[in-house]
Symmetry: C2
Subunit: 109 residues, 2 copies
């Protein structure tokens, strides 16, 4: 998936639904903080076991948010034995940023 069509082009309903789905995955405080925490890991990878404590949410809730991020393609998951490790996919977030580009809008001039 090449996510997502830019906002400055005429956005049909299907494209809008697709872009909205990714934005909805971002539009939650817990998930934004997860992205921030995971992205701040020294080598980019963070263990799930280190995530629920700083988030101050229950472990099942954090697991739910992580799977939401994975399903949206914003985060990558890797199983290492007993532990699950996660990594931000910056190219996906960049795609969202580009979709929100208004640079070619008349009003921006």
């Amino acid at each position: 998936m090449d996510c997502c069509p830019p906002l400055h082009s005429p956005l049909d309903e299907d494209d809008a639904v697709e872009l909205a789905a990714v934005l909805k995955a971002l539009a939650d405080p817990a998930r934004l903080r997860l992205l921030s925490i995971i992205g701040s890991a020294s080598d980019g990878w963070a263990c799930a076991c280190d995530l629920h404590e700083p988030l101050d949410r229950s472990q099942p809730t954090v697991s739910h948010h992580l799977s939401t991020l994975v399903k949206a393609g914003l985060v990558e998951r890797e199983q290492r034995g007993k532990w699950a490790w996660f990594r931000v996919r910056p190219e996906r977030i960049d795609a969202v940023r580009q979709a929100l580009d208004l640079g070619t809008l008349p009003i921006s001039g």
Copy 2:
């Protein structure tokens, strides 16, 4: 409001709530299409009367979405006699794009 703290900095709960609120306003197909349509207007301003038809939603629904966009600061409203006119505020959308910047993350190298 200087919306919003960048994702690559440690995001505390308050900042995350604030950024999530703006993203939530964006995370709806109808509102994305509204932004797209309004932004495509020749002079940047679009009349509400021209918006519900291409959106294929009822007039009250479109009015609701427009007020959501205004409340989030993403769109500006101006009353011209009987008609309401709207304009995208690109600097606000740009602020969201910058908040999503991952450029300084270690993983992006």
